[in-house]
């Protein structure tokens, strides 16, 4: 006779607060129902009562892990409406911050994934490396999280010590390539543990509209940085990493190799960093009436903002759709027919961010 186990919203296996009601027959999961909303803060409503300068600070706090991508998306949406051209150096610095954020987010996920699997040594190594990335973010922006990097018309700070940034990036790349990525890709224990676990077919990805590394691990070569490029991405070349295995192993592989791609992107951006201003200085941004959709590639997948302006300094409507809002429902397909003991790593492999989902 099937029984239902409630897991969450606060549970050691869960990264952030949401609830899984798992119906099992023996050890095999028949279905999972998901409840969210435990971190709901009505950020969209708050943003529709504050001006754009305040909203940049507000939307940064949608998430602590992918904070810069939210401010970048809002800033670029407003810039699109207003026809503002960001200086080239500002675009490159924006891109560097976004890739550093992707790096720290993927390392966070890798550490949590290793810990959930019981691979404590790698969890420690990954979090140790992540501290170097956080140090670098603090060197550049002054903060480990919530960098306040983006303004409408550019970025708020310049890279005053490019050599220090490049030295740190080289150190991070070296450790990634020699310790972290091989640990995930060559360890036989790791590979056997996650191969064939948490299958999400390409058809399920299309049905649920899943995005980001979750979709790429099921063979979909889609990345907003190439599909609808923004910031400095049109001028920088990188590979879209995909896997065909559709399982947790594929998702680990995709995120591991994406970290290496992020490092290459940062190096390329630093090597080709244009000179000049980092933000517009001759005009104060005024956002005219109109509507625009702006999408970007956050660490977890596509973020899009739908901005409607009535010509005032306060958005009339600001819709925020985060990648976890479409990825977390796919957990229902991933756990069907799987063992209960695999539930923690399966749901973790979707990289669920409840701050983003609930807003």
């Amino acid at each position: 006779m099937p029984y239902t186990i409630p897991i969450g919203p606060y549970h050691p296996a869960l990264e952030e607060p949401y609830k899984l009601n798992v119906t099992c027959k023996g050890e095999v999961i028949e279905k999972a129902d998901i409840e969210i909303g435990f971190s709901f803060r009505s950020i969209e409503l708050l943003a529709q009562r504050r001006n754009y300068i305040q909203d940049l600070t507000l939307v940064e706090r949608v998430c602590g892990i992918c904070s810069s991508v939210h401010t970048a998306t809002l800033a670029m949406a407003a810039e699109k409406l207003a026809g503002i051209e960001v200086p080239a150096r500002g675009k490159y610095i924006r891109t560097i911050m976004l890739e550093l954020e992707r790096l720290h987010s993927h390392l966070l996920w890798a550490g949590i994934g290793a810990e959930v699997l019981g691979f404590q040594t790698i969890w420690m190594e990954v979090f140790n490396l992540r501290e170097r990335v956080m140090d670098l973010l603090e060197l550049v922006s002054g903060n480990r999280v919530h960098y306040a990097a983006n303004a409408i018309g550019g970025v708020n700070f310049d890279l005053t010590d490019p050599k220090a940034v490049l030295d740190a990036v080289h150190e991070i790349k070296d450790k990634l390539a020699t310790i972290i990525v091989p640990a995930f890709m060559q360890s036989l224990t790791m590979k056997d543990r996650v191969a064939g676990v948490g299958l999400l077919t390409r058809e399920d990805v299309l049905a649920y509209g899943a995005v980001g590394p979750l979709a790429r691990a099921s063979g979909l070569a889609t990345d907003i940085r190439q599909d609808r490029p923004y910031a400095a991405y049109p001028e920088l070349d990188f590979k879209i990493v995909t896997a065909e295995s559709c399982d947790v192993k594929g998702r680990i592989l995709v995120r591991a190799l994406e970290m290496l791609e992020s490092v290459r992107l940062i190096e390329a951006a630093m090597d080709n960093l244009p000179s000049g201003a980092v933000r517009i200085t001759d005009t104060f941004p005024v956002i005219p009436a109109g509507e625009v959709v702006m999408s970007t590639e956050a660490p977890r997948g596509e973020v899009f903002y739908y901005l409607i302006s009535d010509g005032s300094d306060i958005p009339q409507r600001l819709k925020i759709r985060t990648p976890s809002f479409v990825n977390i429902p796919a957990v229902q397909a991933m756990v069907r027919g799987q063992y209960l003991a695999d539930l923690p790593i399966i749901q973790a492999s979707a990289d669920p961010c409840c701050s983003c989902t609930d807003r």
């Binding site: 409840e35 969210i36 909303g37 709901f40 009505s42 969209e44 409503l45 529709q48 009562r49 699109k80 409406l81 299309l206 049905a207 649920y208 509209g209 889609t222 599909d227 609808r228 109109g290 509507e291 625009v292 959709v293 999408s295 596509e302 899009f304 739908y306 409607i308 302006s309 009535d310 010509g311 005032s312 306060i314 958005p315 009339q316 409507r317 600001l318 819709k319 759709r321 809002f325 479409v326 429902p329 609930d358």
Partner: protein, 141 residues
């Protein structure tokens, strides 16, 4: 360009696409939303999400679709706060419709499991039905 690569055919509202800041918009009747979404999905478009906007006593729902380098948004209006559900057509709409129900008090007819998703239990559905933009500023004396 006068139209996106994605096309909508055989709809009585004969939608025309307008390009605004790189995004295609069109408006159709709410009664045809299921047919329109089926056509979009058949052309391999991905449903990105559904946005609700307060329009008097009704709600304008904007269905956003992504097809590689294009974003196409279909606008439609509720009738007495009702809209046919597209969740039976695509599971990607499940949470988006539940969210619109929570925030704007829209009823999606035919939704297989309408439920409170994102709304705190203490709040009534439709608490996002408040003015934004300049109308949200308190009146100055």
């Amino acid at each position: 360009m006068t139209a996106p690569k994605l096309v909508l055919k055989n709809l009585s509202s004969a939608p025309e696409w307008n390009l605004e800041h790189g995004v295609w918009f069109t408006t159709i009747s709410g009664a045809e939303i299921v047919a329109a979404v089926e056509q979009m999905l058949a052309q391999n478009a991905r449903l990105m999400g559904i946005t609700g906007l307060v329009k008097g006593d009704e709600t304008q729902l904007v269905y956003h679709f992504s097809a590689q380098d294009e974003i196409c948004s279909i606008k439609t209006m509720t009738f007495r706060q009702h809209m046919p559900s597209i969740t039976p057509t695509t599971p990607a709409a499940d949470w988006a419709e539940c969210e619109a129900q929570d925030l704007f008090d829209v009823t999606f007819d035919g939704h297989p499991s309408p439920r409170r998703l994102i709304r705190p239990a203490q709040l009534e559905a439709g608490f996002y039905r408040q003015p934004g933009g300049s109308a949200s500023k308190p009146e100055q004396a």
